[in-house]
Every structure is written in C-alpha cells, then in structure tokens.
Symmetry: none
Subunit: 401 residues, 2 copies
C-alpha cells in the first residue's frame, strides 16, 4: 500500500481550498559563506507573516543530491513520485503548447538548426530565429506526409518546435538526433528497442522531408529531434487526491505539466497580477490552484542574484491578495533551487511554507532557508507536500480504526 | 532486505529491558498560533528529567499527512509497518475482548440497532443500550446455528458486540451492512470476491436469525455488521525482535492489538497505579512492557485541553515508579496526536522521548513538541522506534563485518 492507495481511499471533499504558489527555483545560496541566500536577502513581510502563523520546512524534490528539471520538480509538488512517473521531454513540450496529446502519440522536441553543404551542423539553434520565423517554418513542415501516420508540427518559440507522430505501433524509445555539439552531422534516430523501430523509421522519413522543405531557408535549413516520448500514464489529481485542480501559469511548460496530472488549465494570463486576478475569478470553481511564477528561476539561471531577490519580492507583494481569498491551506515553495551563484538548477532542499488553521506552529517568523531548516515541517520528500496539504485542509479521513 | 530481516538476524538477548509508555494521542496543538500545546502546557518534571538525560524527537505514525487510527498507530510503535500489516476492524475488536481469534476465523463488529416495522433503521445504536443489556442480548444470539460454521457472539459494551464465524473456506472481504445512516434498511453483506462468498452467506443467515431472536426486544431489535476481517498474519515480537513482551492496558482494544503481535496480555488493571504495580510484579518475566494510557486521547477527542493537560501530568507522576525499575530503555510517546482543538486524531508528528544510558543526549531539557522538533532523535517513521529501542538496550548485534 502506498500514499496514493491511502489518498484514494481517505479523500473527502469538505470544500476546503488549497493554493500552491510555486516560485520556480526559489531555493538559493549565499554569495559568500557568511552571507544570505536570495530568499533571506529579499524583503518579504507578507511571506514572513505566513511563516509566523504557520509552519515552514525544506522539501527534497527527488532524492538527496539529485537536481531536478522542471518536470520531476513539479510532479513532486503535485503529489507524484518523480521516480515513478517519468515524463519525456517531447511529451512535456507537446503538453506545454496546448497540444491535445493522445495515448498513441509520440512527441519529440525539435530544433531548427543550420548545416553546411556537407550536412555538418554549424549552429544548433539556427541563430535563435525569431518566433514568427519558427511559426512560418513549422507551418511549411506541416506538408510532410508519412504513410500510416499523422504528423503534427507545432511551433514553440525561437528555434524550437514540437513534432508529434500519431499512429498505431509507435513507442517513444528513440535516440536523439541532436548531437549536442557543432561540427558533426545530426545523428540517426536509432530505436532503443524493437517496439520503437517504427517510430525511428517515421522520424528518419520526417527529417528527410524536412531537410528538402528547408533546403532554401537560411539560417534554419535543417532540424534535429530529441526527447522522443509517448504520453505518460499519470492518474489525475481528481482521482488520486479528490481535487478539482486549476493551473494558472504564464509559461507553456508548466501548463503542460499541469495538464498531464489532469488540472484544468486556465487561459494563460500575461503577468502575476493577472494570475492572481484569474485565481480570484475562478475561485468558486476549483479546490486547488497551482500558480506558477517563472522569473525567480530564470534570474537564478542568469546568475542575477539581485534580480532574483527582486522577483521574490514581487511574489511577496501579491501574497495579501491570495491570502484574502481565505484558502484553507496556502503553500509557497519552489520546484527546486536555482542558486544565482550556480546559474543552474541545484539539488539543495527547497524552502516551503504552509499556512493553515491546523498547523502546529513552529518558532520561525521569517521565510528563509535558515529558518526552514529549523521549521516544524522538517525535511520531507516533495511528493508528500500534497498529502500534507490535504490533511491540513481537512480533506483526508483517518486511516484505520 | 528490510528492517525485520535485520532484526531477525541481529537480535540478541542480553537481558536488557525496554518499557514503552504510550500516552494515547499525546501530540497536540496550541490554542493560538503563539500558544503552547497540551504537552508543553503540562507540568512534567519527571518527563523533563528523562529528556534532559536522554534524547527526544518526533515520529511519523504512517506517512506525512496521514492520520492513523489506533490500529496503525500502535502497530508502528510495536515495530511493524502499518502499511504492510493492515488489521480489519472486526479482527481488532475480536482481539480486544480476549477472544482467542484463530487463523480460520472471520470477525465482524456488530451494532445493536433499532428498526421500524418496515425494517428501516431508526437508531444505528439502539439508544446506546446499557452494557448489561448488550451482554444479555449477545447471549441470546449465541443460540444461532449455521451449518458447517461455529458462531460466536461476544458483547463489547453498550450497543457493540463482536460476531465471529469459524469454519473452512471463510474469507473476510465482505461489505458492511451498516448503512452509516438512519432512514434506510441495513445493507446486504455482499462478498467483494469469490473467496468471500461463503462468509457473505453465513453473515446473511446470521442476520436473519438475529432478527428473529430480537424481534420482541426494544429498542435493540436488529443488528448490523461491519469491518469483516480475518486474522492478520503478523509475525510475533518474539520472532522479529527477540522480545518476550507484555501488555498492560485498561482498554480492550489495546490488549487486542498487543495480542496480535504476540504479546502476553497481563490481567487488565483498573487504573494507572495498578498498571505500574502490574509492571513491577511481572518485571522479571518479560523483556518488554507496553503500558497504555487512554485518557490523554479521550480528553483530546472531547476537546478538553485542560483535562488532557491534567492526564499528561498524571502520567508524569507515575514515571519515577517506572524509572525505579531501572529499565535499559524507557520510552514515553503517543500512537498519534489528538489535539484538543481538533477533537480528533491528527496527522501531526508525535513527541517521543527515549531514556537510556546509551543515548547521545541532545540539548533539550523539556518534553514538548517544540523541544522534540530540535531533539536528537530527529523526525523518524514510528516503525523504527522499536529497532532504536533494541539498539539502545544493547539487544542488536552489528550488521556486516
């Protein structure tokens, strides 16, 4: 018996609402050993107030020492073991552009790239072509026809697109054609098992036709495909947790992730103010709201400590409007750490705060890594955040007599 | 390899004695976010002294966010994974009335109820008839005869009894007949799988005869059955941990739980003083003593914060007598939290103290949730408490060379 067996059996709908605010890449590192992290540096009076009345702690996204990508990071926060449910990159991209990704589909992430007359890659991203060029070229590739398979080509942004093959007998275990370096030709889409042979043939034919179609284009005269993957089988949050969940995210990736666990994806708002407004507008219709804020991660990836601090403060400023909706449980956390000093995702545990009337308060009065280390939630696997939220919202019955 | 494989292999009998005092529902919540919990409020000089010399921490009974009933809560404390060993309610009730529950038995918890002339339930508990009426009616139902099956009917208290069916080919997967509401007829005891079909037939015949026998009774003129279950297969504490264990509990439920893991159940004492006296009297005969105190839970369930505090202080007052027996390891904890503010069991981690000459002491000098959060035992799954106790008692060899 595992946690999902329990939540399937014990869930109850008492009308209590849960808000999960994800400041992407929230966790950080100090610039000097005796310094403060981005979160500790930020002025966050509203988050601090939530910690003071509630409880804080640190979550481990996957396993100690493992740095998660956005997929595993979010799956954990949504209450799914990221080691049990693995989402391919192609599946994620497809879901992230509102593509209606079916159970017999295989998706791959595509890059427009530049090759020389010998077919050798000279730019893996074709000079990051503008998104409108990406749209035009993707449309051009929609002319590709392959026997027995429906082919979809959808632009993402800049040099990125998604290719989806729909048909019988397709499996997603195919090697990337992107060699991850310049100066060599694209690789062959080799199947990793017999069941994926047909997908590999389809991909090879797709690439052949794409090259013909793009022959006269500059700089985007070729494509690479990677992250081949079918749709992962993930039970919905409604089934597993009894939650009618809604996602409010500006970036497509996070909407895609939310869709894979069965959330209703609200029309993408343009900024944080409108995200909060959307939550307010849809408050009555859902039990669970996932609000995603990207810029705490992207500024961390840029190595811009001060800008990450500023974006944390922007999240803080919107907290009163969310708290005013009076959710039973309000959580603020990240899907992983993105220390500006590392300019990348990291494995460090992630600060979490939980505010609810049923919290056992701890002594902490500030939201920061040092405080979370001492906080009452302790250190826990991210996959248990949602069961904890359900418990604090009174949405779980007792287990056993 | 799991913890039981290790303890089976590494156990040694060095004569060291372990005492586990369970103050049921010990963990709590403050009445206001800046207030103190029941345990923090209580004056507990003796428990504090144990913490000062020993070590404290927080245990998670089942999994984060999961609120345990008494069954899973105690199984964890006895060193059994409550997700691996699941005890049906009927089995628990049967064990709890000193019933010698056999491997081919199926037990159900019975309620005397009131039905009108159409057979519709008007009172699920028959007005909570006095226990002596329950005894008389249970005896009356012992006249029930069913081909090929031995039927036992044992009173519990008020409107509650236990029915046990003993015979070949009985499995416990049968639906409750208690509809959990008034205004409808009792449900049919439907089998949940083919192996339980015979049990369902036996149960239906039992109910038919019971109705005839109770026809002229008022208000208890009908019965419902629920929690059908066979005896769970749980290896004994002797086998798994090398402990000759004894249980000293006033309430039948906890004696029943102890019996399921192979403890010797000492004659039920009437109060805490006599429980401690019983421990003293049987000190030489056992390696492990489980002493259960109910009222910290029942006062919590009643929402009576002050009374729960008082009962914690009553436990504290008896600690010197237990410590005077000089056990190798003395543990005081709960099977779960029962915050008076919630009037119910809860998922919050449970305070634990362990006193032993081999403790690595922490800085804490008081027994309370805030102290346990910082304590040297950290936060751990309850199922590891017993291996920790064995270790501190010197009853486990080294693993590996």
């Amino acid at each position: 018996m595992d946690i999902h067996d329990l939540t399937r059996r014990l869930q109850r709908d008492n009308g209590g609402k849960i808000v999960l605010v994800v400041a992407d890449g929230l966790g950080g590192l100090p610039r000097t050993p005796d310094g403060q992290t981005e979160l500790e540096t930020a002025r966050t009076p509203n988050l601090d107030k939530l910690v003071e009345r509630g409880v804080c702690g640190l979550s481990i996204p996957v396993l100690p020492g493992i740095t998660p990508g956005s997929g595993p990071g979010h799956l954990g926060l949504f209450g799914y073991d990221p080691l049990q449910y693995v989402i391919g990159r192609g599946a994620l991209e497809a879901a992230g552009i509102d593509f209606d990704f079916g159970p017999s589909d295989v998706a791959a992430r595509g890059n427009f790239c530049t090759v020389d007359s010998d077919g050798v890659i000279t730019d893996r991203r074709a000079g990051r072509i503008p998104t409108d060029t990406c749209v035009r070229l993707s449309k051009k590739m929609q002319a590709i026809r392959i026997d027995g398979v429906r082919v979809f080509v959808e632009p993402v942004r800049e040099h990125r697109f998604v290719a989806v093959f729909r048909g019988d007998g397709l499996k997603g275990d195919v090697e990337d054609t992107d060699p991850q370096t310049v100066g060599t030709k694209p690789l062959e889409p080799n199947p990793l098992n017999p069941e994926s042979r047909r997908t590999a043939e389809v991909a090879a034919e797709f690439i052949r036709q794409a090259r013909e179609l793009l022959n006269d284009e500059r700089p985007a005269n070729m494509v690479t495909l990677r992250g081949f993957s079918g749709r992962p089988e993930i039970p919905s949050m409604q089934e597993v947790y009894g939650l009618n969940a809604a996602a409010i995210a500006v970036y497509p990736m996070y909407r895609g992730l939310a869709r894979l666990v069965g959330m209703t994806v609200l029309p993408p708002p343009e900024d944080l103010d409108r995200q909060v407004a959307a939550m307010t507008a849809h408050w009555a219709s859902h039990d669970f709201f996932f609000l995603h804020y990207k810029y705490t991660d992207s500024t961390g990836e840029d190595g811009n400590f001060d800008e990450k601090v500023r974006h944390i403060e922007k999240v803080d400023a919107r907290i009163p409007d969310i708290a005013a909706l009076n959710p039973s449980v309000l959580i603020v956390t990240g899907d992983h750490s993105t220390p500006a000093t590392l300019k990348s995702h990291s494995w460090h545990p992630v600060p979490v705060l939980m505010s609810a009337a049923t919290c056992r308060p701890d002594a902490e009065t500030r939201f920061g890594e040092a405080q979370c280390l001492r906080g009452g939630l302790g250190r826990f696997d991210a996959k248990y955040l949602l069961p904890l939220a359900l418990a604090h919202a009174g949405r779980l019955e007792k287990f056993g007599a």
